[in-house]
């Protein structure tokens, strides 16, 4: 499953829930969700722990828009909008978390 997350990990606990319920597959961080993929954020250890079982992606346009593209945690892959579409196609199902 592809999990799509658009909330800041510092404002909402959605990331915790996603990581609790994401067994495998991929996590795509978009919009304010990309803050979870930045070095030094409080979410970094949780994300690193999850990277063993889930492939983590962040949407580059959203990283760039927030000025954090150069702070990406190592091992997080970036995708553009076309890559976003590819991820949706590649996975049997997806969930856009609210």
């Amino acid at each position: 499953m592809l999990h799509i997350l658009n909330k800041s990990p510092l404002e909402k606990s959605t990331l915790d829930t996603v990581l609790r319920l994401a067994k495998s597959g991929a996590l795509l961080l978009i919009e304010d969700g990309v803050y979870a993929a930045t070095r030094g954020s409080a979410a970094e250890p949780k994300l690193r722990e999850a990277m063993g079982r889930v492939a983590v992606y962040a949407l580059m346009p959203d990283l760039q828009a927030r000025g954090v593209a150069d702070r990406l945690i190592e091992g997080v892959a970036t995708v553009d909008y076309e890559g976003f579409v590819d991820l949706v196609v590649e996975h049997p199902n997806c969930q856009s978390w609210l």
């Binding site: 829930t17 319920l21 067994k23 199902n93 609210l98």
Partner: protein, 120 residues
């Protein structure tokens, strides 16, 4: 047409936002189209099922009895995440409808099996 497996994931408390009620509407729509529906309650979503709601004074309809009626629409797959219940000091006895309480690992497994997952 082969029914699809739909899962609705409820993560919001009932009256602060419209999500819970909207989700319930979608549950009933999917049931009308005879799809295979599972309804899941996680995080604050478990508060949607709390017994004893009295909403008169906030001038809002108490829609929690509807969850009890879902069985009449052949929706009998209600799942509540054990961790979410525990974090709120609740147990299955506090809920308006008979549900299956499952841990996050079991819920993750169920999620993987769905054709469509909708978040509320």
């Amino acid at each position: 047409m082969t029914p699809k497996k739909f899962m609705l994931v409820n993560r919001k408390a009932p009256y602060g936002t419209i999500y819970a009620l909207e989700s319930l509407e979608v549950v009933l729509i999917t049931a009308a189209f005879e799809q295979d529906v599972s309804v899941v309650f996680v995080d604050d979503g478990v508060y949607q099922l709390k017994k004893g709601m009295q909403t008169k004074a906030i001038a809002t309809k108490n829609f929690s009895p509807t969850y009890r009626a879902l069985e009449d629409y052949d929706i009998d797959k209600l799942y509540v995440e054990a961790e979410s219940l525990a974090a709120r000091g609740l147990s299955a006895d506090d809920l308006v409808a008979p549900v299956k309480v499952v841990d996050s690992a079991a819920l993750a497994e169920l999620m993987e099996q769905q054709d469509v997952v909708l978040s509320f």
